[in-house]
């Protein structure tokens, strides 16, 4: 493999052992790779591939029962795998710095941003307080936080997610480290913010000639930022090379499979949509009021503002938007988990917005929901079969028949029918999401509301679930409301797309029109922010 001549950080057949009873014996099995100054190496892999363990192994931040049992981590002529705790303290921060996925949990909530960045200098240098303050402001300016003076005095919760990540980057770069390890730094961010952060990391890397080890699961991000790429599967590097070579001419079957699973950014050819409108959402609004005594100082949030949409029978309506756009509130209004303040939601002649709770409970088989989190949405103390049979039992189906039906539904969503006696934790994320889908389908709904139903899944699993959803729609005559923040996912499955921003629908229409010829500036900005957008478009034309 490529022994880089100017490598700064080199992993040499690094192995990391997992505790007994884990699903495999080694989290990393002989990983060799190196990063040179002034380049970005993307390590890409699905969950469980060992990519995050690798980052923690380099920094000697492994959990107690996980340990390095072979190989070397060479940094500036030293082997970090055998370095003492005191030596590692010198390396961390000053030699190798790290940024994490979730800046909210990586920052101390009780101290100001300026304090926390300044701490880097007070630990590793003996600068005066005033000098540290100047350095901190300069750093915050470097990462383009608007109004650095205010940001330095702010607490983490007072900043937005993107600003927090900028502050984390400022902290990581404070001591001009030679290597920056970024562990999924943009995964928790909205797509427009993600684009800005990726650009920032790229700029800073070029200016400071830092070596960046960038860990991600997203080939779009790889296409956007990487110089070289290493693909990981089950704790081994299966392929590495220049980014253009790997993306355009992948050698290993796993790489090919991953790249094929990247959703193309072009909508499929439009289908003929029915004129029969099954669900009409008309001027629906939801407002939250928080705090304030006797109305003074109260904060009013217009989560959904007079949204009107129509869903033709048998079609898929995508609702896309960033966090805080009100798309999830709208979804919960449709299934009446939340009571809308105004407007009507008409399904089969009945206005769901004005039904009593008791009637909603009785009519609920007409409209069902699939939830986002495959781990939180299944009761951990019920067997999978029970979970699926629960709905029909509540509505009066005898238990034995409901369980028999559950077996059929398991087969329908591609699970082994004999698995109904297992508990949710015995299934993988993708399988759990299928259970959630089977549970919703058990009531034979007319309309299915899927709230970020594939967002927590790996790309290859995501592709399978989306394909299955599409088939089921055909077969069962479902109409689907599909909520997502990921435009690539929406492009794959939706006939109609509505783009939401700050509680309003700013643009809606046929998927092909919205993605091919966006009218509203926000839609244009969203599309432009998709990581690796050019790659996704060219990739689509290749696979089409």
């Amino acid at each position: 493999m490529s022994e880089l001549p100017n490598a700064i950080l080199t992993l040499d057949r690094l192995s990391v052992k997992l505790p007994a009873g884990a699903d495999r014996s080694h989290a990393l099995a002989g990983v060799s790779l190196s990063v040179a100054a002034n380049e970005i190496l993307c390590v890409v892999g699905e969950s469980g591939s060992g990519k995050s363990i690798m980052a923690n192994a380099i920094m000697q931040l492994l959990p107690r029962d996980v340990s390095i049992d072979g190989g070397r981590v060479m940094f500036e002529g030293r082997d970090l795998a055998s370095a003492t705790t005191a030596e590692m303290r010198q390396v961390r921060g000053a030699g190798i710095a790290m940024i994490f996925q979730e800046p909210m949990t990586a920052l101390n909530p009780l101290r100001t941003i300026g304090d926390q960045i300044g701490e880097m200098f007070s630990i590793h240098s003996d600068l005066s307080k005033a000098a540290i303050r100047d350095k901190v402001l300069a750093l915050l300016e470097d990462v383009r936080i608007p109004d650095p003076k205010v940001a330095a005095r702010a607490y983490p919760h007072e900043l937005s997610g993107g600003q927090r990540q900028r502050a984390m980057i400022a902290m990581a770069l404070a001591l001009d480290p030679r290597v920056l390890i970024a562990d999924e730094p943009t995964t928790a961010l909205d797509v427009t913010t993600q684009a800005q952060i990726l650009k920032l990391i790229r700029e800073l890397q070029i200016r400071k000639k830092t070596a960046v080890l960038f860990i991600t699961h997203d080939f779009g991000v790889v296409a956007e930022i990487a110089d070289r790429v290493a693909v990981m599967q089950h704790g081994s590097v299966v392929e590495q090379g220049d980014v253009s070579a790997v993306l355009n001419d992948p050698q290993h079957p796993y790489t090919r499979q991953l790249i094929a699973a990247v959703p193309p950014l072009t909508a499929p050819a439009p289908r003929k949509l029915s004129d029969d409108i099954i669900l009409t959402i008309d001027e629906v609004s939801k407002t939250y009021r928080t705090g304030g005594f006797l109305g003074r100082g109260a904060r009013v949030t217009h989560a959904v503002k007079a949204v009107s949409l129509k869903l033709p029978r048998g079609a898929t309506l995508g609702i896309v938007g960033e966090s805080g756009s009100g798309k999830s509130t709208l979804a919960r209004c449709i299934v009446r988990l939340i009571d809308p303040d105004a407007g009507s939601i008409v399904l089969e002649g009945k206005d769901w917005a004005k039904m009593t709770r008791e009637n909603v409970r009785r009519e609920t088989q007409h409209i069902q929901m699939v939830f986002q989190d495959p781990f939180a949405s299944l009761n951990p103390r019920r067997k999978a079969g029970d979970l699926v049979a629960q709905g029909p039992i509540v509505h009066g189906t005898p238990r034995a028949k409901a369980i028999a039906d559950a077996k059929e539904l398991f087969a329908l969503v591609g699970l082994d029918p004999s698995a109904i006696d297992r508990f949710p934790h015995e299934f993988s994320g993708g399988q759990r999401q299928r259970i959630g889908l089977a549970r919703a389908l058990a009531l034979r709904p007319d309309v299915l509301v899927a709230d970020e139903a594939v967002s927590a899944l790996d790309v290859s699993v995501q592709a399978q679930v989306l394909k299955m959803l599409d088939e089921l729609r055909e077969r069962l005559g479902l109409s689907i409301v599909f909520i997502t923040h990921d435009l690539r996912v929406a492009a794959q499955i939706c006939d109609l797309v509505a783009v939401m921003k700050d509680g309003e629908v700013v643009e809606h229409g046929l998927a092909g029109d919205v993605f091919g010829d966006p009218q509203h500036p926000y839609t244009k900005a969203l599309l432009a922010s998709i990581p690796g957008g050019d790659f996704a478009r060219s990739h689509a034309s290749v696979s089409a």
Binding site: L337, M369, R439
Partner: protein, 276 residues
């Protein structure tokens, strides 16, 4: 089954379980080993332990067999501990579940009532109840249960508040489940582990509360309980200290056993907390 395996991996938890079993065996074998009434006269008053092979632990100030009273006392302690704990947990879980699930004014009313109970010292309230309703075994047991429910109620409420907006509960709601089905079928099984662990604390405190009552001679005088024996021994504490010390050790061992079992359950049911 994982929980059982984790439980038996901890030596302290196993010791606690063995001690608790010893107390249970004592309670079960009392009638067989000491067929006579434990409160009947057995010999001279104040015989020292180990001086008379027939009365192994000696006699108290009225000449009753201490060993027999210890064995029968185990029954009373376990009975009061078990029943009072059951009463406290049932009341606490019901109130906590409704307050936590519904929130709003229901929560406000129920929690103000809970706080009213919490601001009074347990033992003072217990004295009042026993003074009003008399001190038979039944009233003492119920009274101990009634003063012990606020803490489990608060614990259950906190669990319900964090669980009620989980996606699996929302999923239950979209399936058309009634509130009572969501509370009992979906949320409660997930909220129970910490409450079960806390039950061991309630049980230990219940045993101590009964002993304290008996020490003040306010518990049921017609049953052989450890507390009664300690209360009797008070009069001869400076010379024949063993009359109070022997039941004291029995209480210590039982409360310790219950606490160790509770700690073991905690580690077994919440495995993630343990690997600190």
């Amino acid at each position: 089954m994982d929980a059982a395996r984790r439980y038996f991996r901890s030596p302290a938890a196993v010791v606690g379980l063995i001690l608790l079993l010893v107390v249970v065996v004592m309670a079960a074998s009392a009638g067989w080993l000491y067929p006579r009434d434990p409160l009947a006269l057995a010999g001279r008053p104040l015989i020292w332990p180990f001086s008379n092979p027939r009365l192994l632990l000696g006699t108290d100030n009225s000449g009753r067999d201490i060993a027999a009273q210890i064995f029968y006392g185990a029954r009373i302690s376990l009975l009061i501990g078990g029943v009072a704990t059951a009463i406290a947990i049932v009341i606490g879980v019901l109130i906590g579940a409704f307050a936590g699930y519904y929130g709003g004014w229901i929560d406000n009313i129920l929690m103000r009532i809970t706080e009213a109970f919490q601001t009074l010292p347990n033992f003072v309230l217990l004295l009042v109840l026993v003074a009003v309703f008399g001190s038979t075994l039944t009233t003492v047991t119920i009274a101990v249960g009634v003063v012990s429910w606020p803490a489990p109620a608060r614990l259950t409420r906190a669990e319900f508040m964090s669980l009620r907006n989980r996606e699996f509960v929302q999923a239950g709601r979209t399936l058309g489940m009634k509130d009572i089905q969501l509370i009992l079928g979906e949320i409660l099984p997930n909220a129970l582990p910490p409450v079960i662990v806390y039950a061991s604390v309630v049980m230990a405190v219940a045993i101590l509360l009964e002993s304290a009552l008996a020490f003040l001679r306010l518990s049921d005088p017609n049953v052989a309980s450890w507390g009664n024996l300690i209360g009797l021994g008070r009069d001869v504490l400076r010379v024949q200290w063993y009359v109070s010390a022997i039941p004291g050790v029995a209480i210590l061992v039982t409360v310790l056993a219950v606490s160790l079992v509770g700690q073991g359950l905690n580690d077994a049911l919440n495995p993630r907390l343990k690997s600190r």
